[in-house]
């Protein structure tokens, strides 16, 4: 098992009368779900609760397979002032996530088996939901020398990434793709040509022209995707494109898929719901992330790409930063927004409620990221471990300035009124989150 969490008592629950929606299992009905010893024991109508089982009222609520995020930053080791394994996985549970996968751009970088193994041990003490780790492609994220990928895989690395940076040298990426035949594990790629993005801090376009901010052109992403898709095709390697942001990038991924390249892609809730216009309302450093919020035509292409399957899954790129790090002028602020606690609500509010995307599709894409890392996709089926999230779709709440389970509050949705609130999460058979309700 390559996921780690602190031990927790297996749940015994009867979730009664919830609207159960599991697109992959083909379930779309009001049902009772019985969880015994952490496993889904029975699905049906009018189930009776055995003595040792707590009854949870699911009436008027929706029960989904728990979400899986293939792309989060838990900042541990080295930047625990931003986030810890404990706080980050608590945030995950509060957002309905039952598995999250942490990026290796920590201090030190997760580029050796010893760092990875100690991190996994820490996860077994702290993590509220199972957490997995991807390791660096290059030592110290330096872009020069490959990590010991085979040993890292043996130590539990789910895949490899230099996330935060591209693998800039084509020759190094090619060797990683060749070595993948030995080591296995997908290569997750942050696509950005630094000679094009330069000192850019936001999307290049009409808004950056107005604000006088250096722009990051869309082509800084799409040109590198095209290059890397060509390399993956040539080496028959498997790559996953992280945080797609631009229309041209969707086109590049679609073209590679059409050629038969083994390529998958993710998009984030913020890129699917926000644009650079938000920066005109307020030049808020919470809206600064890499890749940046782009134009409406880009957002629209991402939504279409998700609907049509060019984009395989939703990933938050949860990137916590301490308050003082973000309370600076925009150009000085670090890139990143938190996302775990608002992902579902943002997508539901901005895309499902207006009728842009069906609920089932969003629910599916919120856990589909498990596939690319060769993890089981949560399913509401008899005999499977209980990986569930119970959601109140009618609950309206304001994403706050503070008050998150995460240590950080740099959430790009802060101040927005959202619909849909996670009320309980069961991860790997144990209750990981329950909404605190004051009577």
């Amino acid at each position: 098992m390559t996921l780690d969490a602190r031990p927790a008592a297996p749940a015994n629950l009867l979730i009664r009368g919830a609207y159960v929606l599991d697109p992959r299992a083909g379930i779309d009905a009001v049902l009772d779900v019985l969880v015994r010893g952490g496993e889904i024991a029975e699905l049906g109508s009018d189930l009776t609760a055995p003595d040792d089982v707590e009854v949870v009222d699911g009436e008027g609520r929706h029960l989904f397979p728990g979400f899986v995020d293939p792309h989060v930053h838990l900042r541990t080791p080295g930047q625990e002032h931003k986030e810890t394994l404990e706080s980050g996985t608590r945030a995950a549970a509060a957002g309905g996530y039952v598995t999250v996968v942490a990026m290796p751009n920590t201090e030190p970088v997760v580029d050796s088996a010893s760092v990875l193994l100690s991190l996994r041990e820490q996860a077994r003490r702290e993590a509220r939901v199972p957490v997995g780790f991807v390791a660096a492609v290059t030592r110290g994220l330096g872009g020069e020398a490959l990590t010991e990928m085979a040993e890292l895989r043996d130590a539990g690395a789910l895949g490899f990434t230099d996330d935060g940076k591209p693998v800039h040298r084509a020759g190094i990426l090619r060797k990683a793709l060749q070595y993948q035949r030995l080591a296995g594990g997908v290569l997750c790629l942050h696509e950005e040509d630094p000679t094009l993005s330069g000192r850019g801090v936001m999307h290049e376009g009409a808004v950056s022209a107005r604000l006088g901010l250096a722009g990051i052109p869309s082509v800084s992403e799409s040109t590198l995707i095209a290059r890397d898709a060509a390399l993956a095709g040539y080496e028959d390697g498997r790559i996953h494109i992280q945080h797609l942001s631009a229309r041209e990038s969707v086109e590049a991924v679609a073209a590679a898929k059409a050629r038969g390249v083994r390529i998958t892609a993710e998009a984030s809730p913020h890129h699917l719901t926000l644009t650079d216009q938000a920066l005109l309302e307020q030049l808020d450093t919470r809206l600064k992330m890499n890749p940046p919020l782009r134009a409406e035509e880009d957002r629209d292409a991402l939504v279409t790409g998700l609907r049509e399957g060019t984009i395989d899954c939703i990933a938050t790129d949860h990137a916590p930063h301490a308050r003082e790090e973000k309370e600076v002028p925009f150009e000085e602020a670090p890139m990143g927004t938190t996302g775990l606690e608002t992902a579902f609500a943002a997508l539901y509010t901005e895309l499902v409620l207006p009728g842009v995307l069906p609920l089932a599709l969003v629910v599916d894409k919120l856990s589909a990221g498990a596939t690319l890392l060769d993890l089981p996709v949560p399913a509401i089926e008899r005999g499977r471990p209980a990986d569930l999230c119970l959601v109140d779709l009618d609950a309206e709440w304001e994403a706050g300035e503070h008050g998150y389970e995460s240590r950080a509050d740099n959430c790009c949705f802060a101040g927005r009124t959202l619909r849909g609130r996670v009320v309980a999460t069961v991860a790997a058979g144990a209750v990981a989150y329950r909404e605190r309700v004051l009577a």
Partner: protein
């Protein structure tokens, strides 16, 4: 009006109101005793994170002409060098109870941030490559003095538009005053989608003769290092405003400091078509007007000035 953060916040009436006020202050500069007591007892803090000669000194002269007390705070040699954040610096200085903070920083939006962190009024004296509103106001003032109304005038802004906060503020101000604006420069130095601001874009001076006003921007040496232009020589050959390119009757402007022989040839700088000196002179009276509008209405001592800009908290 509580802050002056950008020209975008102002409408034409607000701009005209400030400029009319400035006009009324010209008489002060011509007196033997160049001082009126309008802002006596008010405290103005100049907080400059970037080098500045004329902007800072004209704010200082303007404040003193209105009898305000002025403290100049330069980032060099201060706690900023010890790593104090902008927020901490502003909150610390706010403890001195300034009525107004005039701030210049290399960062876009910094003046807006400062306005959120202090009770004082805030004037943006340049925030990165975003805006420099008092420069645009004094440019409109000097231009109105020369040509009267800007309505229908064709104004060409020539040079490094990409890195120019002056260009952005001037585009907004000239458009609001009824002029047509064309920006012209090498394609590497014109931001993508610049037309979204409402201006036209040209890459050559071929149609410069259509302009009523030519506003040349400063071409900085450091732009060579990033290959924005191959050489100053090539830049000057294509974009320098000289005696052969400046048509009779056109007004020439420049925000200073001028690179003689780069963006402007010596013969046009010294020609009567240039109003560069008038721009500098306008700096004091326009900044007096801005200080007056922001401060005279505050507190009980003076009648309230009409509000001319709402700034979100």
């Amino acid at each position: 009006m509580r802050h002056l953060l950008s020209i975008e916040d102002l409408d034409r009436a607000a701009i005209e109101h400030i400029l009319d006020r400035a006009k009324s202050f010209t008489e002060v500069s011509e007196r033997e005793i160049k001082k009126v007591p309008a802002l006596r007892g008010r405290r103005v803090l100049n907080l400059f994170y970037e080098a500045s000669t004329r902007t800072r000194s004209s704010f200082e002269l303007a404040a003193k002409a209105l009898s305000a007390d002025v403290v100049n705070f330069a980032a060099g040699g201060s706690a900023v060098e010890k790593g104090e954040s902008l927020k901490d610096t502003v909150q610390t200085l706010s403890a001195y109870r300034p009525d107004l903070i005039v701030i210049r920083t290399p960062h876009v939006g910094a003046a807006h941030l400062v306005a959120r962190w202090t009770d004082a009024g805030v004037v943006n004296a340049g925030d990165g490559k975003h805006e420099h509103p008092t420069q645009a106001l004094l440019d409109v003032y000097a231009l109105r003095d020369r040509i009267g109304s800007l309505d229908g005038a064709s104004i060409w802004i020539v040079g490094d538009v990409l890195h120019s906060r002056v260009a952005r503020s001037c585009i907004h101000a000239y458009l609001k005053m009824g002029a047509r604006v064309t920006v012209c420069g090498p394609p590497t130095l014109i931001p993508r989608d610049m037309e979204a601001l409402g201006c036209d874009v040209e890459y050559t001076l071929d149609r410069l003769h259509e302009a009523d006003v030519v506003y040349a921007l400063r071409m900085q040496n450091e732009r060579m290092s990033d290959s924005f232009v191959p050489s100053l020589r090539e830049y000057a050959a294509r974009y320098q405003i000289d005696g052969s390119r400046l048509a009779p009757g056109q007004v020439l402007m420049h925000p200073g400091p001028v690179n003689r022989g780069v963006e402007l040839a010596a013969e046009v700088i010294d020609s009567p078509q240039a109003i560069i000196g008038q721009q500098v002179a306008a700096g004091v009276v326009v900044r007096m007007a801005v200080l007056y509008e922001l401060l005279a209405g505050r507190g009980a001592a003076q009648p309230a000035a009409p509000s001319i800009a709402a700034v979100p908290a």
